[in-house]
């Protein structure tokens, strides 16, 4: 949050002066104009379209500008099952997006493979290759759930710092903004996961 003294701010507001910080203004603008990538994979994409359509209307949150090109998009909604044939393309699309960029993993398939996890051609979660900001479970998640994820993302953007040691990831020059694209190996995708973003969960048995 801002570094301005709250009492001073309310006092000034009473006088008709609105005080804000650069960071607040910048984040306020960013969080209210997130442009998602128009990109559907499977069933969840239909719910994504329903979220953008008449009843749920994602435009109320400033996210209605679906861009077909990754170069113009801020947010990638991974909506549906990621197959092993599709995974390299998704990583490539992510790499083509300009910073700052965010990812929502929508639905059980994008999170973990979902009901198709036992299939030989299904990737067990897109977070193996790209960092995910918000996960929404469901098969498919309702449009309200996508809106909730969207609001969570807005909250996350609002809290990002522009300066200092714990400033936002995309402002740190030593952090990668592109990730290696997996290749088709003899049996499976190679590598099976990107260690920089994915750590397999450790199962502790007592």
């Amino acid at each position: 949050m801002s570094e301005i003294d709250e009492k001073l701010r309310t006092e000034l507001q009473r006088q008709g002066v609105w005080v804000t910080s650069m960071q607040e203004l910048y984040n306020w603008g960013r969080k209210n104009s997130i442009w998602p990538l128009q990109f559907g994979l499977a069933c969840c994409a239909i719910e994504m379209i329903a979220t953008a359509a008449s009843r749920y209307d994602i435009a109320r949150f400033g996210g209605e500008v679906f861009r077909p090109s990754p170069r113009q998009a801020d947010l990638m909604i991974v909506a549906g099952t990621v197959t092993k044939k599709m995974a390299p393309q998704i990583v490539r699309l992510y790499n083509q997006m300009a910073d700052p960029k965010y990812v929502i993993a929508m639905g059980a398939c994008a999170i973990s493979g979902g009901p198709f996890k036992q299939g030989y051609n299904v990737l067990k979660g897109i977070d193996r290759y790209i960092p995910v900001d918000v996960y929404i479970p469901g098969c498919p998640p309702r449009p309200e759930a996508l809106l909730h994820a969207f609001m969570e993302l807005q909250r996350k953007i609002d809290e990002q710092k522009l300066t200092g040691a714990n400033k936002a990831e995309h402002l740190k020059t030593d952090q990668p903004s592109e990730f290696p694209v997996p290749k088709f190996g003899e049996h499976d995708l190679e590598p099976a996961a990107n260690c920089a973003v994915f750590q397999p969960p450790v199962i502790e048995r007592t």
Binding site: Q38, C43, I46, P68, K85, M86, L93
Partner: protein
Amino acid sequence: MSATLQTLEAMERPPVRMTSRLEGELLEVSMGPQHPSTHGVFRMNVALEGEIVRKLKPVFGYLHRNHEQIGEHTTYLGSMPYTDRLDYFCSMSNNWAYALSVEKLAGIELPERAQYLRVILAELTRLQNHASLLGFLLSDMGAWGTPLMYAFREREKILDLFESLSGARMMCDYMRFGGCRVDASDEWLARAKQIVDRFPKFLDEFEELILGNEIVIARTQNVGTLSADLAISAGITGPMLRACGVNYDIRKVDGYGFYPRFKFRIPLGEHGDTYDRLMMRALEMRETIEILKQALAQIQPGPIVNPKVRIRAFRPPVGEAYGRIEAPKGELGFYLISDGGPNPYRYRVRPPSFINLTVLEDMCLGHSVADVMVILGSVDIVMGEVDR
């Protein structure tokens, strides 16, 4: 409706001729899998001469989710939720096709009320599928927004019905072998009747908005013409076949369910072009409303499940069966081989949109790139069903 049919026949259709100055020089373009108009993750390798399509090669498999393999490794009932995710617009009709083939395999009879509920739900599915298809097709043509918003407004009303009955908006998982999962209350039937009665108003509005539109006519008439001979020999079914003038509807041919009890007509096209395919959907929705009105008036209280069927530990006798229905996209069939075990020995899906897609190249050759999207949209594909 007769007025629209007359204009359809009376319209003069000048042939579309494309010429190019770049003779013989081909440019290969890969369209998809990330493309706003490929309805998912479909990819085409198109060889272009100037702007004219000379070759088109579809690339599949970007959504191959091992449906059949999983179906062979789960129980018969365990496959029911997976069928929802085949054609994710029409989960109810997928359920019905699968339940029908299992019932054929095991020789299960259905109570009367369950048959009526199935007809009502499958026809409601057809309404929302065709409405949203028209919206998508128009947005592929460049009318981005408005028609899709109108279509989804109506779709949401039908999804509300599905949700209050089955608990899920899209993945209903509603049918069971020998019946249905939950009974519809009288209030539900009254609400369904209300929605069905109001639907023609939307159709009038929508037809006025798009079907006479000059741009729609210019973009669709004589574009992507499919001959009846090719359609029959390629195994095309559904509205796409009927747009070529072939009178083939499995609801009439097989008379499965209680369809012989209802009076309805099959709309037929004449030219087999994109405009006819578009009109097929609009006209079919009118007939679907007729079926729904009759079914909602005829339905009587009664049991919804055949009490003799043991759904747990279900083991059909050794044999094979093929059950098919007229899904909104065409003939949807399930072919099952049972070896007497708890899961099928072979589980095969005959997906309508995959087989309808096989003639895509024949329809697209000689047209411009922009027309490819319109032709593809009029085929009505869902990748979950194409790649399975």
